[in-house]
């Protein structure tokens, strides 16, 4: 049987796809607090626990700060730990996100992306995860439920890679993915177990000698105490190098996952870019709409293409350059605002990546979809049209455009 024939087609929304993947991984600890639109993930998972389908210790905590703290404690003791959150929940975890990555704990967290308050809004945008972009986590962004399922399996191996040892955030658009039923091909349980294997530990030289990096009374080490100016900076550089190592490790894990599942995603997914004159780059579910519009525009003779970015941290500069160099005009879709900045978070990264290149494309930043504002095919068409005007003019009139907002 081929890899695909062994798989079961299931109807799952994005949250259920995350819960089902994590059920198959069977982690030691899940600690979570409910928040819309993530709640289904932990609801489903707590059913798996109640029905005895996993061996996981499920910890019902009193806040998201506690949820991630609990995962940090569990992972430090050697457990595989998972949590999930959204919006204010991720904001409340903020200080712990930096601790999880600095302690090099390969926790996996699903984030059903939702707008940040105020005003309160339960719908999708990327401001929650973009607020955590500097926290030292690997960030995977999903376009559909299939990608959520696959990412929630691959994430363990990416984070636990011996050269990496970092937490991983799997992002799925709130409601658009979290609550929308889709077809998902799922692997047999035993293939997932075999793929994730046992958690691997780094070796460290603690003050009593070399030991596995975990809290073990027989081989004690101390994690994260006072470091002061003598050592702190060096520890930060190690995190920089770990994220660089992730750029090498992620394709390795992808290759192996491809052998098991027949699916691979890489850092990014170029779509009809070969001879494109116009391209849009973006993250998440919007890219499904963008690719649909690309097909329509191609029918009409417009040389449009798209680039879906799957990995935002570490930022895949080389792969990005390779994919878009030579395209005259590139639009960057940002579903978040970086207040006071020259543009949206993705725009700034793309622009920085291209600065050293001699022949740079025209870049225009399109902010869209804040607080769940619908990004329709018509809006994407209008964006391509605007981008084409910038191309014809030889430059953007305005660098940052707030698409779909009432003027």
């Amino acid at each position: 049987m081929t890899a695909l024939e062994r798989q079961l087609l299931m109807g799952l929304n994005g949250d259920e796809a995350a819960a089902y993947a994590v059920k198959q991984v069977n982690p030691d600890v899940v600690a979570a607090y409910p928040i819309t639109p993530q709640t289904i993930i932990v609801e489903r998972f707590s059913e798996y626990v109640a029905n005895g389908l996993v061996e996981t210790e499920f910890v019902s905590v009193e806040s998201e700060h506690s949820a991630l703290s609990c995962c940090i404690g569990a992972a430090a003791a050697g457990a595989r730990a998972f949590t999930a959150t959204s919006s204010q929940g991720l904001a409340l975890m903020w200080e712990m996100t930096y601790i999880a990555s600095a302690l090099r704990l390969p926790i996996v967290m699903a984030v059903a992306n939702r707008a940040l308050s105020a005003p309160i809004n339960i719908h999708n945008d990327h401001s929650d995860a973009m607020g955590a972009r500097d926290s030292g986590w690997i960030q995977i962004w999903c376009e559909n439920s299939q990608e959520v399922y696959d990412a929630c399996i691959e994430a363990w191996r990416m984070g636990e890679h011996p050269d990496v040892q970092l937490p991983v955030m799997v992002n799925l658009d709130g409601f658009t993915l979290s609550h929308t039923l889709e077809n998902v091909m799922t692997l047999p349980d035993e293939e997932v177990s075999e793929f994730v294997g046992e958690r691997r530990f780094m070796r460290v030289r603690g003050h009593l000698g070399e030991a596995d990096f975990r809290l073990d009374p027989e081989n004690p080490i101390t994690m994260g105490p006072l470091d002061l100016p003598d050592f702190y900076y060096e520890h930060k550089l190690q995190q920089v190098e770990a994220l660089k190592a992730a750029l090498r490790a992620i394709p390795e894990v992808d290759d192996e996952y491809h052998r098991v599942s027949g699916r691979r995603y890489g850092f990014l997914h170029p779509y009809r870019l070969e001879d494109a004159e116009l391209a849009l780059i973006g993250l998440g579910s919007t890219m499904g709409t963008v690719m649909h519009v690309v097909d329509e525009l191609r029918e009409e003779g417009v040389r449009a293409g798209a680039l879906k970015l799957r990995v935002f941290r570490p930022f895949p500069e080389e792969a990005l350059k390779e994919a878009i160099m030579g395209i005259p005009a590139v639009g960057i879709l940002d579903r978040a605002i970086s207040f006071g900045a020259p543009g949206g978070p993705l725009y700034m990264e793309v622009k920085t990546t291209l600065y050293e290149e001699e022949e740079r494309p025209i870049l225009v930043n399109y902010i869209h979809g804040l607080g769940g504002r619908d990004t329709t095919p018509d809006l994407i068409r209008a964006i391509y049209k605007d981008l084409d005007r910038a191309r014809a003019r030889g430059g953007a009139e305005e660098k940052v455009i707030y698409a779909g907002v009432r003027g």
């Binding site: 780094m202 994260g224 060096e234 520890h235 190690q238």
Partner: protein, 92 residues
């Protein structure tokens, strides 16, 4: 504090300290140290228990001994001593 300072490559990963925290001799942070008049000390042990740094130990003779390598000079011992036999003396 004399330290051999390794490069980031040699430093243990995961925010693991390079050395035991006992080697961070924090006694040089303070501006004063306790001076104990042992002739008035009742050996009640309160200074030992109150010291936030664990820098006061009770010796075999039952009298407190201050480990100046770790005393930050906070003065909690002097404040709590029921017979007021501990005096904070500014370092010169």
């Amino acid at each position: 504090m004399s330290l051999e300072k390794p490069s980031w490559r040699e430093l243990p990963r995961g925010a693991v300290p390079y050395m035991s925290s006992a080697e961070y001799e924090t006694g040089d942070w303070g501006v004063s140290n306790p001076s104990i008049d042992l002739s008035r000390c009742t050996r009640c042990t309160l200074c030992h228990f109150y010291c936030p740094e664990g820098a006061i130990r009770m010796g075999e003779d039952g009298y407190p001994q201050v480990d100046l390598r770790y005393c930050k000079g906070c003065g909690v011992c002097a404040e709590e001593c029921p017979v007021k036999c501990i005096r904070m003396v500014e370092k010169t």
